[in-house]
Amino acid sequence: MDKRDPFRHNVLTSGHRACSGCGEAMAARMVTDLIGPDAIYVNATGCLQVFTTHNQQSAWQAPWIHSVFANAAAVASGVEAALRAKGKETPVVVQAGDGGTFDIGLQCLSGMIERGHDVLFVCYDNEAYMNTGVQRSSSTPHAVRTTTSPPGRLSQGKHHLKKDVISIIAAHHLPYAATATVAYFPDLKAKVEKAMTIKGPRFLHILSPCPLGWEHDSALSVTVSRLAVETGLFPLVELEHGELTGVMRLAAQRPVEEYLRPQGRFKHLFGSKEGAVELRHLQALADARIRRYGLLSADTEWDTESVAQVQRHGRGGYVSAPQEMDDER
C-alpha cells in the first residue's frame, strides 16, 4: 500500500495511466479520498477503469470491482444486498463516466434507485466516450465536435442537446442528488460528506474536463471547469426527494465565449456564419439554465467567488488521514 502522503489515503494513488491533466483522475481522487478506503467501489467500464487497472496493475487502495459497461449500478445493488444480509455497514460507491451513466448504464441506475439501495452513484462527466477516442454521448453538449458528431458541410457538431440527467435522476425522488465540479473543492467536499451521511440511493454528477477530448491545454482543467459554472452552462445544484434544495449562486455571469475559446472542441463555431448561430444558441442555453435555477438571485451561503477562496494552511483536507487508520488492518 502506498502511504507517501500522511494527510490523505490516496485511495486512487499514483502510477495510473490517465492523460496528463485529466479532470476525471482529479475528481475521482478527490471523491475517493473524501470517502476513504473503508468502502467498496464498483466501477463501470470507461477511462477511469482503464487507466487505473492497466495490465495487471492497480491504482486503487480500497476494495474495487469492475464488471461490464452497463451494469455497475446492478453489481452495486448486489454488493449492497450482500452486505445488508451479512449485517455489515461498509458504504458502497459506484463510479462511472457519462456514457456509463447517461447512456448504457441508465437502466440499471434507475433500477438501483427505484429499489432504494443504500448506494452512492458518482458520475464523472467528461461529456463524451473518451476512452475509445472522443465519440459523442448523450452528455456531449450541443454543437460540440466529436468523431461521431463531426462538423461537416451539413452539420455544426452535435445536433442534440446535453441530456439533463440530474432532472431525470431527481424524478426518482431519491434522498439526495447534486452536481459539482473539480474547481470548487470545498463545495465538492461538502456534497460528498453530506451524501455519506444519508441512507438510501444518492447521486453525484461531477463535471470532469478532459484535455484530450475538450482539446484545452492540460494546465487549464480546473480553470475550464470553473468557467463552465460561471457561464451558467453547468449549474451547481442540490435536489432532495425531487425538490431543489440548494444552488451555487454566480458572483458574476461570464459570457459563454470565455468558456468556449480555450477548447478545440468548439473551434469550428468560430469564424463561420453557421457557427455564430450555434454560439448564440449556447449563450441562450446558459441564460435559460440561469433563469431556471435562479443562479444570479439565490441567497445562498456560498457563491462562485467565495466558495473556492483560499486561506493560510488550507481549509481542511480529508475525513480521517491515514495515520489515524490502524496499521495492522
Partner: protein
C-alpha cells in the same frame, strides 16, 4: 483504383458503396474508426443515411432490427463486450430472418478486460443463427461486406463479417475499392418482403407454441445449410465482376501433396502462408487451409480438402472452456461422420492480442510435444525469438 487504406476505412467505404439507409453507431475499440468514417461521410453529405448514435450496443442492434423490419438497408459494427451485449437481439434478428449485415471487429472478451484481438466474441455467437464470414485481409473485408448484403438479402438471414481487431481494423494495406456503378451492378437495391408497411399490415415476431416453434428452427437450419451454395456462388460471381475470389467457404493453399495441413481462420493465415512456403522450400510436405465461412459450417468442403491429409492441425484464437478448440471439435465430428479417422491436433493461441509469429506457427506445425494435461487441446508457446527456432522453447519477451 488501389489505395493504401486502414482496414476500418476500407470497410466503411464498402458500406457506403452498399448505400445503407440507417447506420446505428456505438463506440467500442477496435471498430470505432468504421462508424467515425461513416459519421463524417453523413456529415459531409457523401452518404444519404440516417446516422443514429445509439446509447448502447443492445440499442444499436435493436435499431438495425427495426430499420430492416421497416424496409431499409442498415448497418452496424461492434466487437467483444458489445457483441455479447447484443446477444439477445442477435438471436432475435436471426429468428425473424431479417437480412441485417454487421461487422464484428474481433476482440477478446472480459474478464479480464482486454481490447486486443482474438475470436472469442464471434465464436460465442456461433449458435445465434448468423452467417459468419472470417476474412484474412482488408481487401477481403471490403469485398465480403458487399457480398454479405447480397447473401443476407437473398437468404433472408443476417450476416456477420468478422475481421481481426487491430491486425486488420488498424492496419494500412493496399485495397482496390470498386466503383459505385460496379457495386450497384453486383448488389441490387434493397428488397425484402416481410416489412412493416401500413399498406400490407403484418405482425412480425409474434408468439409461437410447441406445435409450430420447431418448424421455425428447421427452416432456419435448412436455409443456413443451403446458404453454403449461395455463399460460394456469390463469391464466384464477385470474382467474375471484380476479379477477386476468396474460395467461397474455404480457401486452400499448396494442399497438393501435403501430408500435414494447418487449418485456421482470419488474418493469422497470412503468416501461415509464409511459413508453408518456407517449409516447402525445405522440402516438407506442408499445406494450409483457411476456413472462410464458419457458419454455416462447411463440413463437405472441409472433408474434400482434408481427405488426403495424414496430419491435421487446427489453429484457433478461441476455445470452449472445458471442451477445447471449437473448430477442431466440429471438424472431428464431421470427419468421424465421413468415416475419416485422421486425428485432429487442436492448438489454441493468439488470445488477447498475443502475436502468432511465423516462428511460433512453425513450432506448432513441427508438433511440439503437447503437455500432459492438454488432452483436448494444447496452447501455443509465447513469442519465440527468431534465432532459437529449433529449440522451440518459448522465451518470454
Amino acid at each position: 483504383m488501389k489505395k493504401l487504406l486502414e482496414g476500418s476505412q476500407a470497410v466503411a467505404e464498402a458500406v457506403r458503396l452498399c448505400r445503407p439507409q440507417v447506420v446505428a453507431a456505438y463506440p467500442i475499440t477496435p471498430q470505432t474508426h468504421i462508424i467515425e468514417r461513416l459519421a463524417q461521410h453523413v456529415a459531409d453529405g457523401e452518404l444519404a443515411a440516417e446516422f443514429i448514435n445509439a446509447e448502447s450496443e443492445f440499442g444499436a442492434a435493436s435499431i438495425v432490427l427495426g430499420a430492416v423490419a421497416a424496409g431499409a438497408r442498415a448497418f452496424t459494427a461492434t466487437a467483444s463486450q458489445g457483441l455479447l451485449l447484443m446477444t439477445e437481439v442477435l438471436y432475435n434478428i436471426a429468428g425473424m430472418r431479417l437480412p441485417v449485415v454487421m461487422v464484428c471487429a474481433n476482440r477478446a472478451v472480459g474478464a479480464p478486460i482486454n481490447i486486443f484481438s482474438d475470436h472469442q466474441d464471434s465464436m460465442a455467437l456461433r449458435d445465434a443463427g448468423w452467417i459468419q464470414i472470417y476474412v484474412e485481409s482488408n481487401q477481403e473485408a471490403a469485398d465480403s461486406l458487399i457480398q454479405a448484403y447480397r447473401i443476407a438479402e437473398v437468404c433472408e438471414l443476417p450476416v456477420m463479417v468478422c475481421m481481426d481487431g487491430f491486425f486488420l481494423t488498424h492496419t494500412f494495406e493496399p485495397v482496390d475499392l470498386p466503383s459505385q456503378a460496379m457495386v450497384d451492378g453486383y448488389l441490387p437495391a434493397f428488397r425484402f418482403a416481410r416489412t412493416l408497411d401500413p399498406t400490407q399490415p403484418m405482425t412480425l415476431g409474434g408468439g409461437s407454441e410447441a406445435d409450430n416453434y420447431q418448424e421455425f428452427r428447421v427452416a432456419q437450419h435448412h436455409t443456413m445449410e443451403n446458404a453454403q451454395t449461395v455463399i460460394e456462388a456469390f463469391d464466384a460471381d464477385f470474382g467474375e465482376q471484380f476479379g477477386r475470389t476468396y474460395g467461397g467457404l474455404v480457401q486452400d493453399y499448396r494442399l497438393a501433396g501435403a501430408d500435414t495441413v494447418l487449418l485456421g481462420l482470419g488474418s493469422l493465415m497470412g503468416a501461415v502462408r509464409d511459413v508453408v512456403d518456407r517449409l516447402r522450400d525445405q522440402g516438407q510436405a506442408v499445406g494450409a487451409l483457411r476456413l472462410r465461412c464458419f457458419r454455416p459450417f462447411p463440413a463437405q468442403a472441409l472433408i474434400e480438402q482434408l481427405r488426403a491429409a495424414q496430419r491435421i492441425i487446427v489453429l484457433e484464437k478461441a476455445f470452449s472452456a472445458g471442451a477445447g478448440g471449437i473448430v477442431a471439435i466440429e471438424l472431428r465430428a464431421a470427419l468421424q461422420q465421413a468415416g475419416i479417422t485422421t486425428t485432429v491436433d487442436s492448438v489454441i493461441g493468439g488470445l488477447g492480442g498475443r502475436d502468432l509469429t511465423p516462428e511460433v506457427i512453425e513450432a506448432i506445425i513441427r508438433g511440439a510435444k503437447p503437455d500432459e494435461h492438454e488432452a483436448t487441446c494444447r496452447f501455443a508457446p509465447d513469442h519465440i525469438a527468431p534465432d532459437n527456432i529449433n529449440s522451440g522453447e518459448a522465451s518470454h519477451g
